[in-house]
């Protein structure tokens, strides 16, 4: 328990609390300011990831007594230590449950995010990549890039039987797509899918995602950061979908292209645990796709206000003020 009275302990506990409070306040802002625009949401959500890293040291610099019991007793709006000191049925201390929550988040972080990166680095048979000449992908891409006013990225086609489409690279972008897409997609679907990737390139999604990922890594113990990181990545997809549709004017083509990415886990492969894991992952992947399709189909977004600096600054000030009194 005394760990949470130390500087590092207070930082860990308060960064989780501050993330949560920021999340609640931005959800209030979304509701009150009628924010439906994904670009605006993306900017607000960044606060959940960024603020908790910096605010605690700044608050402590402004008022070194902020962690003292007198501040907690007289000024604080919420003092986590009051809850952590409680023992449930005089047996289980709440702080051990809080530690278990942080440890669980760390475990998920390492299993879901660090372990796959390490696995990627291990030597393995490489993708067979080649350019398939039977469709004029390059011509289509050149046309789209010209219309969107950007330089043409490289394209790499990989011989995989399942649909795969993504962009890599920070300066020199490469669009990677699987042969399955090349075989199945109609011209309209292909145009929408490629336009979506070009929008990612124009928006600098790769570098943004990497920066956000670093911020998320700094908060590896924080369950709120874990959730918000995913929502930020989702928001980026929604933003690119919106721009793609406004450019191609073919929402149905993008919807049918997204439909192709639905995942169907194979039940006969691996152990029961890996089947359950695959099912959960596929389900969440499919939910995201479904949400993207619903967002594209939604009408009336144009009527909602976009990003406003005054509202954003006001919300940030409220977040900073409330978090100062949450210890």
């Amino acid at each position: 328990m005394r760990f949470f009275d130390s500087y590092i302990g207070m930082f860990i506990a308060q960064s989780v609390l501050h993330s949560f409070m920021t999340l609640v306040i931005i959800e209030i802002a979304f509701y009150s300011w009628e924010i439906r625009d994904h670009l605006a949401k993306f900017r607000y959500r960044l606060l959940v990831l960024i603020l908790p890293i910096f605010v605690f040291p700044v608050y402590q610099l402004i008022n070194p007594d902020r962690g003292s019991m007198y501040f907690r007793e007289n000024t604080a709006l919420f003092d986590l230590n009051r809850w952590l000191a409680i023992r449930i049925w005089d047996l289980v201390p709440v702080y051990s449950l809080f530690l278990a929550l942080l440890s669980g988040t760390m475990l998920i972080f390492f299993l879901q995010e660090i372990f796959p990166i390490v696995r990627e680095k291990l030597p393995k048979p490489g993708y067979v990549s080649y350019v398939v000449p039977h469709r004029d992908i390059i011509g289509m891409l050149e046309g789209l890039c010209k219309k969107l006013g950007t330089s043409k990225p490289s394209v790499r086609i990989v011989d995989e039987p399942y649909p795969m489409l993504f962009t890599t690279g920070i300066k020199n972008h490469v669009i990677i797509l699987s042969k399955a897409i090349l075989d199945k997609f109609t011209d309209d679907q292909m145009e929408s899918a490629l336009a979506h990737e070009i929008v990612h390139i124009i928006r600098g999604s790769s570098i943004k995602t990497q920066i956000i990922y670093i911020l998320r890594m700094l908060m590896f113990y924080n369950p709120v950061s874990l959730i918000e990181f995913r929502r930020l990545v989702q928001d980026d997809e929604f933003i690119c979908d919106d721009i793609t549709v406004s450019f191609t004017k073919k929402p149905e083509a993008l919807i049918s292209a997204i439909n192709a990415f639905y995942s169907h886990p194979q039940e006969d492969k691996g152990s029961k645990i890996s089947v359950v894991k695959d099912t959960i992952e596929s389900h969440s992947h499919n939910l995201l796709l479904q949400e993207r399709i619903i967002k594209i189909q939604e009408k009336g977004i144009a009527d909602t206000p976009g990003f406003g600096w005054v509202k954003f600054i006001l919300t940030t000030v409220i977040i900073l003020k409330i978090n100062y009194m949450v210890v």
Binding site: V24, I25, I28, A29, Y31, S32, W33, E34, S68, M69, Y70, E73, N74, A76, L77, F78, D79, R82, W83, A85, I86, L314, T315, I318, I322, V326
Partner: protein, 184 residues
């Protein structure tokens, strides 16, 4: 235009209302543990209230406060807890300036806990042994953060560690400390 202003006002009202609601909810959540753990740290108005609510075997209070120190009785702030260990903190203000003049800490000796002091000793000049009646104590001569001289005396009294910190002379502080303990 009128519709736009009305809509904006509605948004501001809704935001203000929900934030106020959040603050109320936070205060409620912050208050809830005091119902569950009735003996945890909290602020009390009087020493009698501490005795009545926490049933602490003994609360050590100074029987003597030098007149020239101008300290106000009763203590301006009292913090006390019984769980996880017994602790009583008393803050005495000066009559005219309302500045803190004297602090008394009473902590369960087994806990090894040293509460933060509102009178902060910034530079310790000397530590010496002192007798509080027949109990061995340690007297710390120091300066406070505002460069004024301040002193601290601490000793073990039964099951408790008692600490008295004040912005007064060593002689006065020892007198105050001695007035807190019974003759053995």
């Amino acid at each position: 235009m009128h519709i736009k202003i009305t809509r904006q006002l509605k948004m501001v009202f809704s935001f203000a209302l929900l934030i106020s609601l959040l603050v109320v909810v936070l205060e409620l959540i912050n208050w809830a543990p005091s119902i569950i753990e009735t003996e945890s740290l909290r602020k009390y108005k009087t020493i009698e209230l501490v005795k009545r609510k926490l049933h602490i075997e003994r609360i050590y209070i100074p029987a003597y406060l030098p007149e020239d120190l101008n300290l106000k009785w009763p203590p301006a702030e009292i913090y006390a807890q019984k769980k996880p260990f017994v602790m009583v903190i008393m803050h005495f203000q000066q009559r005219d300036s309302k500045e803190l003049g004297l602090i008394v800490h009473q902590v369960d000796a087994k806990s090894n806990y040293r509460p933060e002091s509102k009178i902060k000793l910034s530079q310790i000049k000397k530590e010496s042994k002192v007798l509080i009646k027949d109990r061995a104590g340690i007297l710390v001569t120091a300066t406070c953060e505002d460069d004024t001289p301040c002193n601290q005396v601490s000793w073990r009294e039964g099951n408790f560690m008692l600490t008295v910190i004040g912005k007064d002379s060593q002689r006065d502080l020892i007198r105050i400390a001695r007035s807190m303990v019974p003759d053995s």
